[in-house]
């Protein structure tokens, strides 16, 4: 039975439920009506009620069911408030989806359906990741906004607009049919990776909201792999993010200076995460369906193996980039391929490969292109051109400590 519990325990229980059940409850409450905003409002009221009620009456045995019962009542109240006489069908909609919570059975987990709605192709691509972070994990707009370098007001408005579209356009909160699944899963994975990349940009790890975002993205991806265990690309993305996250501590000196992969102290790498990444990638590879994320994870795996075992596996890396480039046609893949090529065929050959990418308008303001170009030019002895390329790369870099590294490299060139 419920026992009275301390404020600290209430807080702890509420936080644990929030972490693991938020999306589950939102997905369940909004499943039929598609009204995400109303479900979120009702749930946040239920959390507020919990913080009042639990210290007095004890933490319930099934906090999830307790919250659902209260949220359900709030949902109905809100529907009533909106229209004095609730139209019968809407009212039924709200009630009908709710189980008898006195029988404390498991609440069905519909978070995956919710994720597919958030990353639906009919939703603007730029808001899919923020929407997922909010609807599935309950992050507030201000925190998401800071990670995506957007004003909280603008982020809030875009989130509201996306939720309105889900409901009014009738985007279903469900996992798509078999034949639709591969293409639709891609948009879900891309949104998760966008959330991760935005967390990852903060290489110093000083900005807590961004660091956590990488963790949240990994959490979302684990959800997908748990619910769709035979999707190779979901495992590939999980591996890719775990490989990157495993090296986080080694990416900065204690003073905060940027450290390139080749110079990182590998004893700072997280071996548990690397092992988990290897296992996920291996499992993906048995499914016989290669994709972008598996290839990128395999490249990360090769970089890690090279540092750990002191093997020269650059030819394998070039081959992986070849495959990635063929699959995606991405100029970023082409740039990285050129950098890898410098290790197998020398900087001159790499420059030729890089020149082939140059006409692509997407790379003009892409820092990595100019940094790669500067490095290759320096290695071929074209110091003057190299300095110019460094100049542009420095101008495009947002991160202070990366800028410093680029400036040091430029300073080492002959005048």
């Amino acid at each position: 039975m419920a026992t009275p519990c301390s404020g600290a325990l209430v807080q702890e229980t509420a936080e644990a439920v929030a972490r693991h059940s938020y999306g589950k409850l939102v997905a369940f409450l909004a499943a039929r009506s598609g009204n995400l905003a109303a479900a979120e409002d009702a749930l946040s009221e239920a959390f507020a009620a919990a913080l009042e009620d639990w210290p007095r009456n004890g933490c319930p045995d099934n906090p999830e069911a307790w919250l659902l019962t209260v949220a359900r009542r709030k949902l109905i109240d809100a529907a009533r408030r909106r229209k004095n006489e609730a139209p019968a069908e809407e009212y039924e909609l709200a009630v009908d989806t709710l189980p008898d919570t006195t029988v404390q059975r498991e609440i069905p987990d519909r978070r995956l359906g919710l994720m597919f709605a958030c990353a639906h192709p009919a939703i603007d691509a730029g808001i899919r990741a923020p929407l997922m972070l909010q609807a599935v994990l309950g992050l507030d707009a201000a925190r998401i906004a800071s990670a995506f370098l957007m004003s909280p007001t603008a982020m809030g408005q875009r989130l509201v607009r996306a939720k309105t579209k889900i409901r009014q356009a009738g985007i279903p909160l469900k996992v798509p049919d078999r034949e639709e699944l591969p293409a639709r899963l891609e948009t879900v994975l891309d949104a998760i990776y966008a959330a991760f990349s935005d967390g990852w940009l903060d290489a110093a790890g000083t900005d807590a909201s961004r660091r956590d975002l990488a963790e949240e993205a990994i959490y979302l991806c684990r959800l997908v792999t748990a619910m769709l265990p035979t999707e190779a690309e979901a495992l590939g993305l999980l591996a890719l993010m775990l490989y990157a996250e495993a090296r986080r501590k080694a990416r900065r000196s204690p003073e905060g200076a940027y450290i390139a992969l080749a110079e990182q102290d590998i004893s700072l790498w997280d071996r548990g995460r690397i092992a988990e990444a290897e296992a996920a990638l291996l499992r993906a590879s048995t499914m016989g369906l290669i994709g972008r994320y598996q290839l990128e994870a395999a490249i990360q795996s090769a970089h890690i193996a090279r540092r750990r075992e002191a093997v020269n596996n650059w030819p394998a890396v070039v081959k992986l980039y070849d495959a990635l480039l063929q699959l995606t046609g991405s100029p970023v893949a082409a740039i990285n391929r050129a950098v890898a090529l410098a290790e197998t065929e020398g900087p001159a050959a790499a420059l030729v490969a890089l020149n082939a990418v140059s006409p692509d308008p997407r790379i003009i303001d892409y820092q990595s292109y100019w940094a790669a170009r500067a490095d290759l030019l320096a290695r071929t002895g074209a110091h003057r051109e190299s300095r110019d390329a460094y100049e542009i790369a420095i101008g495009l870099e947002r991160d202070e400590s990366v800028r410093q590294v680029l400036e040091q490299r430029r300073a080492q060139l002959q005048r």
């Binding site: 139209p87 985007i171 279903p172």
Partner: protein, 132 residues
């Protein structure tokens, strides 16, 4: 839910076609309409006369203005519509992607705002809230 699929296309495309091609084009639409009917999702549909026959009406300062021509002059014009009743946007998208219109133009999908006195009030209120 009901969805309106509006078909936009370059009208000159049809007139440039040979009679056989035109026949094939129309047959494709007839087959599509038949498929919608068989599936029991078709509520209504129509093909429109060319936009050169369009007339627009508006009222400025209480004075009615009638103008020759379509509302928006553009290469692609509204040429027809299908009104369908399906469970959700995914189903509407699936039907829209099979429409012959996507091969020579664009199909826009809009959910029908279902009217009842109370939902009308509620949705207007909500639209105002989200605009804030």
């Amino acid at each position: 839910m009901q969805y309106l699929l509006t078909l936009y296309a370059d009208e000159s495309g049809f007139t440039r076609m040979t009679p056989e091609q035109q026949q094939q084009g129309l047959a494709a639409y007839m087959a599509y309409t038949q498929a919608l009917q068989t599936a029991g999702v078709l509520v209504g549909r129509n093909r429109l006369r060319p936009s050169s026959t369009a007339t627009t009406v508006r009222s400025t300062n209480g004075k009615t203005q009638v103008l020759d021509g379509p509302f928006i002059e553009s290469k692609e014009q509204l040429g027809g519509y299908y009104l369908i009743d399906v469970p959700n946007l995914d189903a509407a998208l699936s039907w829209a992607s099979k429409c012959p219109g996507v091969n020579h133009g664009v199909v826009e999908i809009r959910a029908i705002w279902e009217m009842s006195p109370t939902t009308h009030q509620y949705e207007t209120h909500e639209a105002a809230a989200s605009a804030r």
